[in-house]
């Protein structure tokens, strides 16, 4: 082994950062985990259910949190890294003028931010009371609030809209966010459990159910929960006098324009590269790919390596990923870091 424990800075305290940090700590490295929010756990702290097993994300987060209380790990919260520079054999990380630290290697786990649905203004998010995002719905369910319209009524019909801010040149994102389709189906099922009388329609362009158990969930949604699927992209939503919503799409399978009144709309917002990526790329320390995510050195052989030697990455800063993929990816990043130092010895 090494004479002196190597110091690794992990930027981002979501699940990717937590998993990477704890795996590296177990391998004997010294870790500083830096998180810009007050607490670690990232987006999962705002989420209610995980697909495909409908489990509680708090279980994942609490397992990772306890692994963080390792003697080799120092966690700094409420701190955002604004600058990274190479200083001889060290990397220097700064947060404004308040904090500066040196590290032998960096793992970027800065994650994603959700697409701002108000940018698709034809869907009326932020304008109409009963247009929600998938994240709003998760928070509502997490807080165990009953699913009600803004005026407190039980919704009788809900439309779930796929691909909001994803696969959309007009929103500037041509990639697929990958996890929204299955999230929509999971949410449709959860809605049906809470509102058995309510009709639920999913408006999709393609259903991209890539996971081995995802199609099973699709079947369950159809068979057990009577969720209905319409293949057509929403063109607009408008509010009616009673605050219900009128939506327009083409029912592409019958080839006719369709109009429908619903009490609530759920917009499945996609993942966008974290804003902080610009901080990393500004001084040329790492490059971004065509979608604004961090570019990997080799898409097959070196997925966790950025274009800068010594800076690694894991999780959704690379591309949209599910929770299980993120965790696998984080473990793979930890392995890459270990290999890097062992080769150096």
């Amino acid at each position: 082994m090494m004479n002196k424990p190597r110091h690794i800075a992990v930027i981002g305290g979501g699940i990717a950062g937590m998993e990477t940090a704890s795996r590296l700590a177990q391998a004997g490295y010294k870790i500083t985990l830096i998180e810009k929010e007050r607490i670690t756990g990232g987006h999962l702290t705002q989420w209610s259910h995980l697909f495909p097993d409908s489990s509680d994300p708090a279980i994942v987060v609490s397992r990772l949190s306890s692994a963080l209380s390792h003697q080799n790990i120092k966690v700094i919260t409420s701190t955002e890294i604004t600058d990274i520079s190479k200083n001889g054999q060290y990397f220097n990380l700064k947060s404004g003028s308040e904090m500066s630290l040196n590290a032998d290697a960096i793992v970027v786990t800065s994650g994603f931010h959700l697409f701002d649905a108000s940018r698709k203004e034809e869907y009326g998010y932020g304008l109409f009371d009963n247009v929600l995002t998938s994240a709003d719905l998760e928070l509502m369910m997490k807080n165990e609030k009953p699913i009600r319209t803004a005026s407190g009524k039980k919704p009788r019909r809900i439309a779930i809209i796929h691909c909001v801010g994803s696969r959309d040149a007009k929103a500037g994102n041509t990639y697929c966010s990958k996890v929204c389709c299955i999230t929509g189906i999971k949410q449709a099922i959860e809605l049906n459990k809470r509102l058995p009388e309510c009709e639920i329609f999913c408006f999709y362009m393609d259903l991209r159910l890539y996971g081995s158990s995802f199609d099973g969930l699709y079947l369950t949604a159809q068979q057990k929960h009577k969720v209905q699927f319409i293949r057509g992209r929403l063109s607009e939503a408008a509010e009616k006098p009673d605050k219900s919503l009128q939506i327009k799409a083409e029912d592409t399978l019958s080839g006719r324009p369709l109009r429908m009144d619903v009490d609530m709309i759920i917009l499945l917002v996609g993942m966008e590269p974290g804003i902080s990526h610009n901080n990393f790329s500004r001084n040329g320390s790492v490059q971004l790919d065509e979608n604004g995510f961090l570019k990997c050195k080799d898409v097959h052989a070196a997925r966790n390596l950025t274009t800068q030697t010594g800076i690694f990455m894991a999780g959704t800063c690379i591309c949209p990923m599910s929770v299980s993929e993120t965790l696998e990816n984080a473990r793979s990043a930890a392995l890459e870091v270990i290999n890097y130092f062992e080769r150096k010895m």
């Binding site: 701002d116 108000s118 940018r119 203004e121 034809e122 932020g126 304008l127 040149a169 007009k170 929103a171 500037g172 607009e236 408008a238 509010e239 009616k240 006098p241 009128q246």
Partner: protein, 354 residues
């Protein structure tokens, strides 16, 4: 479109020149709502103290011919180039276009030239050959509603009658309708983009009124030259307008405010037509919903005489709206011309002939 991809339209404002404008008039507005363009010039000169040049030598933009497949795009561009040349001659850098069709035409031409510079050079040669003129592209081309929007607060400061129902003390409810060619083709050329342009709602709220959002708000009025120019197709535009009336009526709007000559005319006249065909009206007491141009609304707010604004030419009676606003007018003067001479009057105005 790439450059606009990450725009959040609700926060989007376009550039509108401050002063020193060249006015490009509309062909059809002077027949449909003849007082509006005059009111625009008056408001600009007398209320806002701006300089605007009204040029007798500019012509039609030929948009009607273009949209009816009679005038070619090359001809259209050459006509626009001539207008730009007239502006250059006067040394005026900013154009204000009165008509939405024309505004769409200028936007289309400028976008074409940006995308295909060789097209601009071709037109340069055509204009030179046809008229001996040369031209440069204006610095700023906006629609006249953009100007009223820009100075909405200055107008509010001089307001005589706010958009308040004098009987109830509540804000008047006004539905806006934006002409399709204002920003649906080029969202970045409209205040607030294509889906929810703020250009008219900004005026309504600045002057004390309340805007109304209704499901078919973004739907086209149906005007489309290639529809209504063919008589047998005319029920088509009418059914588009009807779709909108049906959708807005439950909100009981006090007026419709539009920024396009075609939309304003259609909403006004079709309410009569639909009343005659179906016996149904969409306003109160058998009247339709009054339809106003933004110059008329600005004029009323500033205390102009409604008959000087040309409001006697509306099919749907405007008096109920004037009464709600508390505008002073003399009913006997309705059909008096500029010099006080009787200008004749229609057999009937309103929607339902009983």
């Amino acid at each position: 479109m790439k450059k606009t991809a990450k725009i959040k339209w609700a926060d989007f404002n376009k550039e509108i020149a401050d002063d020193n404008y060249y006015y490009l008039r509309s062909c059809i507005r002077q027949n449909f709502f003849p007082g509006s363009e005059k009111a625009f010039l008056d408001i600009l000169r007398h209320n806002l103290h701006k300089t605007i040049f009204d040029d007798a030598s500019h012509t039609t933009c030929a948009g009607i011919g273009y949209h009816a497949d009679i005038v070619t795009f090359e001809t259209l561009q050459t006509i626009a180039a001539r207008h730009f040349s007239l502006m250059n001659e006067r040394g005026i850098p900013s154009a204000v276009v009165s008509c939405i069709t024309s505004f769409g035409i200028y936007s289309e031409i400028l976008a074409t030239w940006e995308e295909f510079p060789e097209e601009k050079e071709k037109i340069r040669a055509y204009l030179k050959k046809a008229t001996g003129r040369e031209f440069e592209v204006p610095e700023n081309v906006v629609h006249s509603c953009d100007i009223i929007y820009k100075f909405r607060n200055e107008i509010a400061a001089q307001m005589k009658s706010p958009l308040i129902n004098q009987k109830t003390g509540k804000p008047l409810k006004i539905v806006d309708h934006i002409g399709c060619h204002y920003s649906k083709m080029f969202p970045e050329r409209g205040v607030g983009g294509a889906e929810f342009p703020k250009v008219l709602t900004g005026m309504i709220t600045a002057w004390g009124g309340e805007t109304v959002d209704y499901p078919e708000r973004r739907h086209c009025c149906g005007f489309g030259f290639r529809q209504y120019l063919v008589k047998s197709n005319r029920s088509y535009p009418m059914s588009n307008s009807k779709k909108k009336f049906e959708s807005m009526a439950p909100y009981k709007p006090d007026a419709i405010l539009a920024n396009c000559p075609g939309c304003t005319m259609f909403f006004d006249r079709w309410q009569y037509t639909l009343g005659q065909i179906e016996g149904k009206t969409y306003g109160e007491d058998g009247n339709g919903i009054p339809v106003l141009t933004y110059e008329e609304l600005a004029g009323l707010v500033l205390g102009y005489d409604p008959w000087k604004l040309g409001m006697q030419l509306h099919q749907v009676d405007v008096e109920p709206f004037l009464d709600k606003m508390g505008v002073q007018y003399n009913p006997d003067d309705k059909y008096k011309g500029l010099n006080g001479k009787y200008i004749n009057q229609p057999d009937f105005s309103g929607c339902l002939k009983v």
